[in-house]
């Protein structure tokens, strides 16, 4: 899109992307912007590892969907902690 403020942000900071589907648009957009991508997450992977949690509803996620979102959020947070602690990913 070329928004200078956003481009500066993704180029000067470490980026994590979270994609909802295998098209991986978030990852592609950061890469196309020459952003500093350090790790990509995919909801489909989290779903594969948590088959008991079946997300339903788009306007309002069901409780299993919210639990799945929490699982992924914790994975992302763990990665943020590793980065902050200077550990390799």
């Amino acid at each position: 899109m070329g928004d200078q403020e956003t481009l500066k942000m993704v180029r000067e900071n470490l980026c994590l992307t979270i994609d909802g589907c295998p098209s991986k648009c978030a990852q592609k957009n950061v890469e196309a912007s020459n952003g500093r991508l350090v790790k990509s997450f995919a909801v489909t992977d989290t779903l594969r590892n948590n088959r008991n949690l079946k997300p339903e509803g788009i306007i309002e996620l069901n409780s299993e969907g919210l639990k799945l979102a929490n699982v992924l959020a914790k994975e992302v947070a763990k990665t943020v902690d590793k980065i902050k602690g200077g550990k390799s990913l």
């Binding site: 899109m1 098209s23 957009n29 306007i59």
Partner: protein
Amino acid sequence: MTMAKWKVGIVSCSGEEIPEGTISRIATRLVLEKLRPDETVTICLPLFLAGGEGERTFAKLFPTITVDGCEKRCAKIGTEKYSGKPFATVVVTDVLKKCPNLTLKSRDELSTEEWEFAEKVAEEIAERVDEALRRQNEQLRSEKQ
């Protein structure tokens, strides 16, 4: 002969940083699922920007309505850049000006007032959908004559 049914594509803001982004997405879903389910489809903005040919072709052939959370108008600019001028643009911050007592705060779980506001935005989008289809039908009628 099977006639292709006209659909209107809705391109929503995908911004997570501000509550207006959440309102854009929920209002869009309300239109897609409740208000105009048979007349609308959604176009994924990140996929559109990342080079999704299907999305870009659809937006070239069918009318689109962009729903932007803020004045940056990324959905509108992206649609214009890769496909063509959208039929209409709804900007959440513009609709918010009509509700001076409301302050949006939530980025995940909306309050009752925020839900009502999302419904108001959805109604504005639905009105634009009706206008787009009316225009499309008028055009088809004049081409037949």
